[in-house]
């Protein structure tokens, strides 16, 4: 994609989400916010999973930790937005330290290690009741505002996180870091041989994959007003985000966010219309997408172009 087309499409996409309050009700806004949130999660995942090619399943761990750190800060009277900042920084530090350890693993083993992190976080948060309330979960001070205001506020918060993650993606893509990450993806040994500090680069990617998840998690906690370990550290969420990114096109700039939008909207449609079979139908859609669009939704463009004879 040419940069201008790309940036144009991204702006249009964000604008579509941002203008929902003008014509739609809160539920649509909420869905738009969900699209933005999952878009941000998938875009984050893309740093490690797409650019670097490391199959990371840590998303839910970062999201959940962000939610907990944010919630705890707020409960200690720290203003909401500051709490989100603290959560972001704390989780970034955590991810960098953790990355230093588990990024020594490659391929499958990394996948397992990163999924174990989610389970471990859940178990630790759940057994550290004195701090986290354990299985009881945590209440976050409710915001006193009308539902409409609140909804709009959180829509823009999530959109902001999404936009930030996209901007960082674009910057990384055009920088040394992005180039190096792609080299690592292709051949890690060769990457080291041309002078890439693979460890540092991977840690950077892993940390980037954590920051936006953490902010989103913290904002989410403030939004719902209640979090508990089971809902905050869900393996399903981790897998879903990965699936979204792959459906959209892993390693591309806008693909993961597009995949997230498609996934969330499809889920919405099926949930509303097929109570008993929504899960199966979504499963069928995923299977078909993998069969017919293994390169993700973005590869549809290339295909169409080829089919129509090269005119772009």
């Amino acid at each position: 994609m040419k940069p201008l087309t790309l940036y144009g499409s991204i702006l249009v996409g964000l604008a579509v989400l941002a203008t929902t309050p003008l014509y739609a009700d809160n539920y649509v806004l909420r869905t738009a916010a969900m699209v933005a949130m999952y878009g941000a999660l998938a875009t984050s995942w893309n740093f490690i999973g797409g650019f670097t090619g490391y199959p990371s399943f840590s998303t839910a761990a970062f999201f959940g930790l962000g939610a907990y750190v944010g919630a705890l800060c707020q409960r200690h009277g720290i203003p909401m937005v500051v709490s989100w900042g603290i959560a972001t920084v704390a989780v970034a530090v955590f991810a960098a330290l953790l990355g230093g350890i588990i990024l020594r693993l490659r391929g499958h083993y990394f996948a397992i290690g990163s999924i174990a992190v989610v389970e471990l976080c859940r178990l630790i948060v759940s057994s550290w009741s004195s701090l986290t309330g354990g299985g009881d979960g945590l209440n976050v001070p409710l915001i006193h505002a009308s539902p409409e205001e609140l909804m709009r506020f959180f829509l823009y918060v999530m959109l902001g996180i999404l936009a930030a993650s996209l901007v960082v993606t674009i910057i990384v893509d055009r920088s040394r870091l992005g180039f190096g990450l792609r080299c690592i993806h292709q051949n890690e040994d060769a990457a080291a041989m041309v002078g890439i500090n693979t460890t540092a680069y991977k840690i950077a990617a892993y940390t980037l994959s954590a920051v936006f998840c953490a902010t989103a998690g913290a904002a989410y906690a403030s939004w719902t007003g209640y979090i508990d370990p089971t809902d905050s550290f869900q393996i399903v969420m981790t897998v879903k985000v990965t699936v979204m990114a792959i459906l959209g096109g892993a390693g591309t700039i806008a693909g993961p966010a597009l995949g997230a939008a498609a996934f969330v909207l499809l889920e919405e449609v099926f949930w509303a219309n097929f109570i008993d079979w929504n899960r199966a139908i979504l499963g069928v859609v995923i299977v078909l997408l993998i069969f017919f669009l293994p390169g993700g939704l973005l590869s549809l463009r290339t295909r169409l172009r080829r089919a129509t004879g090269g005119a772009a």
């Binding site: 354990g134 299985g135 929504n278």
Partner: protein
């Protein structure tokens, strides 16, 4: 606003981990709506209005429960919400209801922590858990005076955890020794380690909390490992027919508390004037016995019916106040909300499985069997 129907929204767990509980809510609410509409609808002022129930499956995922509550309010314009099963998800849905000032009736949430956030639109038909612990300890001590030590194993989840902690506190207050008290995390597949430790303390009373599948596994492993005690309580196992069905003979002797039992004989207003009438209707519809989830959920409908009738309109604020002032008798028992929105404390049944059947041991006015010791 659509003046023709009263819309009640319900995010339900029809698939996923809580599917069974969700389905129970679903079936009872449908029964209630059918019955109401057959009679022409609910009395609102001088006209009758039909009731429409709108349900969505939230797949046992908390995030989605909140989202669907929002959809119900915004897209479907419901005037009331029924909260889903469990304290955690109830909290999430109640948070949404509160924000939109939509009265939310929780029928399967009993932890006080759900109601202590000063929500003004959340009302629960279950009584506080607290009513289940002290009374039970007293009752057992009276029946089995030699009871000295107990062991508690609880699931680390809102309700089961609070019950485990509540009972331990109550027992110690009554002079029992709690020789073992541990929580097990969600997703535990094996209780052998805990049970072996419990066996080593040789307690007089074993108290386990958890969801049906946890309890079935725990009971079976107790049998396998030869862990037993004169009193074995599993909360809220025997309240569910799945528990007794899954365990067969092994269920015999297990005690539990419950919020409601169909052996009670309350009477009052609503589509089912007596407990017996509800029991018959349920039996006819499903072939099985109702448990407290069924009872409590059906009663939630009556709360709404009563409130709109007294208000005579669907005015949000008025209806909310009317619900807060609820004071009715139903087949489920008395309903009267305390300041935090929970149904008032009342004497709750203590039940026991005897010959694969559920018997009520207490309170005395509805008891239909005497307590037996756990068969060896």
């Amino acid at each position: 606003q659509d003046a023709e129907t009263i819309k009640i929204g319900a995010p339900l767990a029809l698939t996923g981990g809580l599917a069974d509980e969700g389905k129970k809510q679903d079936i009872v609410w449908k029964m209630w709506v059918e019955k109401v509409n057959d009679a022409g609808g609910l009395q609102v002022g001088d006209k009758k209005m039909k009731v429409e129930l709108i349900e969505y499956d939230y797949q046992s995922e908390g995030q989605r429960a909140g989202q669907l509550a929002e959809k119900l309010i915004n897209d479907d314009k419901v005037q009331f919400l029924f909260a889903p099963f469990g304290s955690g998800h109830t909290k999430i849905v109640a948070g949404v209801g509160e924000r939109y000032q939509i009265p939310t009736i929780a029928c399967v949430a009993s932890s006080e922590s759900v109601f202590d956030q000063s929500f003004k639109h959340l009302f629960g038909t279950l009584s506080p858990n607290g009513g289940m612990t002290t009374a039970m300890v007293k009752f057992f001590k009276e029946k089995f005076p030699e009871t000295k030590t107990m062991a508690v194993l609880g699931r680390d989840d809102v309700f089961p955890k609070s019950m485990a902690e509540g009972i331990a506190k109550a027992a110690e207050a009554e002079g029992l020794t709690v020789a073992y008290k541990e929580l097990y995390p969600v997703g535990t597949m094996d209780h052998a380690a805990a049970l072996s430790s419990i066996k080593a303390t040789n307690p007089d009373w074993i108290y386990v909390t958890g969801y049906t599948q946890d309890l079935i596994l725990a009971r079976k492993q107790m049998q396998d490992l030869g862990v037993t005690a004169p009193i074995v309580t599993m909360v809220t196992g025997p309240s569910y027919k799945e528990f007794t069905e899954g365990l067969g003979k092994l269920a015999d002797g297990v005690t539990s508390s419950s919020w409601w039992h169909h052996a009670t004989s309350y009477e009052g207003q609503g589509v089912w004037p007596t407990t017996a009438a509800f029991y018959e209707a349920f039996k006819a519809k499903t072939g099985g016995d109702p448990d407290y989830v069924h009872g409590s959920c059906a009663a939630a409908g009556e709360v709404i019916a009563d409130a709109v009738k007294r208000t005579g309109s669907l005015d949000k604020a008025k209806v909310r106040d009317a619900i807060a002032a609820t004071d009715i008798q139903t087949f489920y028992g008395p309903i009267k909300f305390g300041p935090n929105g929970m149904n008032l404390v009342r004497e709750l049944p203590i039940i026991q499985v005897q010959d694969e059947d559920i018997k009520v041991l207490a309170p005395a006015n509805i008891k239909n069997a005497d307590m037996i010791a756990m068969p060896k």
